[in-house]
Amino acid sequence: MKAGVIVFPGSNSDRDVAVAIERVCGRRPQMIWHGDHDLPDLDLVILPGGFAYGDYLRAGAMAARSPIVDAVKKHAARGGLTLGICNGFQMLTEMGLLPGALLRNRDLHFICRDVDLRVENTNSAFTRDFAANPQVRINMSHHDGNYVASDSDIAALEAENRVVFRYVDRDGTPQYDTAPNGSTRGIAGILNRGGNVLGLMPHPERLFENALGGSGGRPMFTSLMNHFAHA
């Protein structure tokens, strides 16, 4: 799998995701500077977590206007897999590749903790390996993860099975109204219509091996790897 991670000024999980992919999939992603205009030949483009441009103005807003973004949009339009984690998810909404927006967490606090998620759709290139065990614990760490979208967008996301990750209680009860960040219908991650662009707030790369306290995020990377191994 040829993966590339876009590095924006202020990205801070760019190395972490590259390390996780290298450790799980065996091949280190290329790091791509936000100021470039072209992407190399890639299977997967990752917009990493962090505080690109300090999250000033709106989280992800300035990064979504970087020179590299046209190439990312073209990649996505061609059906290329595109993954936005945390700040990357915020960028994807700002770029218009995913619907809705991510507002400040309900209680206005930054929240860093391990949360339980249910993988609601295990049919995507990103999530097949969650099928055996669709409830996982991974780390969330953000200030603006409170997902909002128009009623029609939410309805479409639900109807089309594009809410891929949802915050749940330990016992699996969906946190429709009680997600830690206030997210609408407990939405933690969504897919575009084409099924090739995924954005999620929690960080699968922060819990990908037991030494880190859990490996709930690992199946995302194995899913991607297997997707390309079988392709």
Binding site: P9, G10, S11, N12, S13, R15, D16, V19, A20, G49, G50, F51, Y53, G54, D55, Y56, H109, F110, I111, C112, R113, N139, S141, H143, H203, E205, R206, A211, L212, G213
Partner: protein, 744 residues
């Protein structure tokens, strides 16, 4: 350039006694300035002397005593005197770390004060070539019921998170105390740990006559002018009105600055580098030149300015954040500039190294300051202030005076009251707001005895803790100073780390009072004794004096930040009970020392008597034993006994592991004294039955008291079958105090 030109070229501001006093200089000190210059200073020079001779920069009250602290060990690469301390951690790698206070600014504007405190300490560490890998924070607030406390806590925590989260350095631990003595003077001490290769460490001594002096980072504005003198002045009622220009932090720029500096540091272009901290351009240029034994000449017209019409005085005293000063090798300016351009940071050549031994400033074509550097640093005033080290008052309460029968709910109520009190309640509300998982190496997260962060790409890990028990220091400064060091040592051993070295943040009141000065001297002497005995040298630190409001001083608070090394990160211990029916072993024996315990102070409001004595031999012996057992894989569940005593430590292990305990304790001593006594040098651990005897024998062979006191089981904690606590109830109390209080 003659002195006269410098004197004449300013805007003719008359140097009056009032102006001198406003600059925090005594008449005697002013006379020394005149003697050093051979003439009266102009306003810019007066400003420079005032900040360089401030307590904050000159350590004039503390210098003579700081010399008592041991600073050497075979693994120490750089002790105090540089931007941060450096210790070797093997394989050509070094850990670089320091702690610093940002107390006064955080009281005036908690969010920005705390945020810029984090920014400042990060710069101290990456200026030495280290990539920051962890932040810690040691916080002291006033009584929870004080009307300002909530606002200050909310602001400080948000500020620390706001800055640290954005730069992408995990904040992995700290400590938080409440006491009415901090009502008007909170303490915000921030610590950063970084990693570097030992052959890529950067120092601040300037060298090379003619070499360019380069300014990088953010532009200079009129931020925090006189911050350094403010940090050295006692608060009074009108401080809140005066409100000096508060510095605003820009963590995004800091992140770029880290990346740009580390990128430049990969080359060989830098001769010397230093961050612009308190007293900004003044202290950085003065310290770099004086350490190198050279002179320095700056042309202030080239300083990137954010505002118009800034005077030389303002530029030299500005505390604008996110700025660094470097001396480059000649001819490397273009190469360096390209890196800072890429990261969109200011870069300007603002001067050169000279052989004059003077700080010489020009502005708009005129010389505006010309000062012999030695007079600003080595020859700065140093005082032997009179001191009286306070002694503990009497023996304190006896066990019978503190009868749990007087506590609501008796013995049982005592623990529930303590565990849900502000002193012992979980700090989750705080660390939840700190990104403690970024960088992917935080394997020991907040909530343990010490935070544990892997050395990226290796099997090693660094353990980090901050500790001090101010109430002990108040009762007996010498024992309190020892205890701070000993507890840090213990917290590192408890996770399996070999303690390496400490940094400190010595927060005290007004040193011009002999009792406060006595607290300072006593604590330093106690710390020194403990550091020597434990081979645990001080490699960096900071002193913050004048922490008092309207004559009320803070509790003496010599905060200790310490790091240790875990050779195999797979071999470490955590505090939560791990399995049913494991034997709980007490190492270090029972203690019945109740004076100065949380039990005595919080439940009986009894503040008399000595703190628990510190036996440094026992600390060394017990700590070494525990850490070696962990390193060899025999122990994976350890917690040291500190605030609240044995039963609190048991409760913490139980709550963390979600598993109860059945304890059988001796009945020859009052049970409450055994449960809540805060005797030192003690650890608890739990091991599978098959390993218990071996562990106890191994300990006894080394002359260490070790005994089984019960086993893990179920969902309650019981003592001698007649006192029982429901774990879920304890947990509820423990977890709810902070969020409930903050919501209140």
């Amino acid at each position: 350039m003659s002195a006269d030109t410098a004197a004449q070229s300013t805007h003719e501001i008359e140097i009056t006694p009032e102006l001198i006093a406003e600059h925090g200089l005594t008449p005697d000190e002013y006379d020394r300035v005149v003697a050093a210059l051979g003439r009266a200073p102009n306003i810019t020079e007066l400003g420079i002397y005032s900040v360089m001779w401030s307590e904050h920069c000159s350590y004039k009250s503390s210098r003579v005593h700081l010399k008592k602290l041991p600073t050497k060990a075979p693994w120490v690469i750089q002790g105090p005197g540089e931007n941060a301390g450096v210790v070797g951690i093997g394989d050509g790698q070094a850990a670089i770390f320091k702690m610093e206070s940002h107390n006064h600014p955080s009281y005036i504007e908690p969010y920005q004060g705390a945020a810029t405190g984090v920014g400042g300490i990060l710069r101290d560490v990456f200026t030495m070539g280290a990539r920051p890998i962890a932040n810690m924070n040691a916080l002291r607030f006033g009584a929870p019921e004080h009307p300002k406390s909530r606002h200050l806590i909310a602001g400080v925590v948000a500020g620390i998170g706001g800055y640290g989260n954005c730069v992408g350095v995990p904040t992995v631990g700290g400590e938080t105390n409440f006491d009415a003595r901090y009502n008007g003077n909170i303490l915000v001490n921030a610590m950063t740990v970084g990693l570097a290769d030992t052959d890529k460490i950067f120092y601040s001594a300037a060298a090379g006559i003619g070499n360019p002096v380069v300014y990088v980072g953010s532009k200079t504005g009129r931020d925090g002018i006189h911050g350094a003198t403010m940090a050295s002045a006692e608060f009074s009622k009108d401080t809140e009105e005066k409100r000096p220009t508060v510095q605003v932090g820009d963590p995004f720029t800091e992140k770029l600055l880290i990346e740009a500096c580390l990128e430049l540091m990969a080359s060989d272009a830098i001769v010397a580098i230093q961050d612009m901290g308190a007293a900004g351009l003044t202290s950085s240029s003065v310290e770099m030149a004086s350490k190198g034994g050279v002179g320095i000449e700056l042309d202030l017209d080239n300083v990137p300015a954010r505002e118009t019409a800034m005077t030389a005085y303002e530029m030299m005293l500005s505390e604008s954040q996110e700025r660094m000063l470097m001396v480059l090798k000649p001819g490397r300016e273009g190469f360096a500039k390209a890196i800072f351009d890429k990261w969109e940071l200011d870069f300007a050549v603002i001067g050169k190294i000279t052989q004059t031994g003077n700080l010489t400033l020009t502005h708009q074509g005129a010389i505006v300051a010309d000062i012999p550097l030695g007079s600003l640093t080595d020859d700065a005033p140093a005082y032997h202030r009179p001191y009286i080290i306070p002694k503990p008052s009497g023996n304190g309460p006896a066990a019978d005076d503190l009868d749990p029968g007087k506590v609501s709910g008796g013995l049982k109520g005592a623990l529930t009251a303590l565990i849900g009190s502000p002193h012992l309640a979980s700090r989750r509300w705080i660390w939840d707001q700190y990104d403690h998982t970024v960088m992917g190496d935080s394997i020991g997260r907040p909530g343990g005895d010490a935070a544990v962060v892997r050395v990226h790409g290796t099997k090693k890990a660094i353990a980090i803790t901050t500790d001090v028990t101010p109430r002990y220091c108040e009762a007996d400064p010498v024992e309190g100073g020892k205890q701070a060091v000993a507890e840090a040592y213990r917290n590192l051993c408890a996770v399996g780390a070999k303690p390496l070295a400490i940094t400190d943040c010595l927060n005290f009141g007004n040193p011009e009072r002999s009792d406060v000065m006595g607290q300072f001297v006593g604590c330093v002497e106690g710390m020194a004794e403990a550091c020597s005995a434990l081979m645990f040298p001080v490699v960096s630190g900071n002193v913050s004096l004048y922490n008092e409001t309207n004559g009320v001083a803070i509790l003496p608070t010599p905060a200790v930040g310490a790091i240790g090394l875990i050779a195999e990160s797979a071999h470490r211990a955590t505090i939560g009970f791990q399995a049913e029916d494991e034997v709980i072993i007490l190492i270090g024996g029972f203690s019945a020392h109740l004076p100065q315990s949380l039990y005595a102070r919080h439940l009986f409001e009894n503040e008399d008597g000595p703190p628990p004595p510190v036996d440094l031999d026992a600390e060394l012996r017990n700590g070494t034993f525990v850490r070696e057992e962990i390193a060899s894989g025999h122990l994976t569940n350890v917690h040291d006994i500190s605030d609240g005593g044995l039963i609190v430590a048991i409760a913490e292990m139980a709550m963390a592991g979600g598993l109860g305990a059945v304890l059988t304790l001796p009945d020859d001593t009052p049970l409450h004294a055994i449960l809540f006594g805060e005797g030192q040098a003690r650890y608890l651990c739990a091991v599978p039955r098959a390993k218990a005897d071996g562990l106890i024998e191994a300990a006894q062979a080394k002359g260490i008291e070790a005994m089984p006191i019960g086993h893990t089981a179920g969902s309650t904690i019981s003592v001698n079958a007649d006192t029982r606590w429901d774990l879920s109830e304890l947990k509820r109390l423990h977890e709810s105090w902070f969020p409930d209080y903050m919501a209140g």
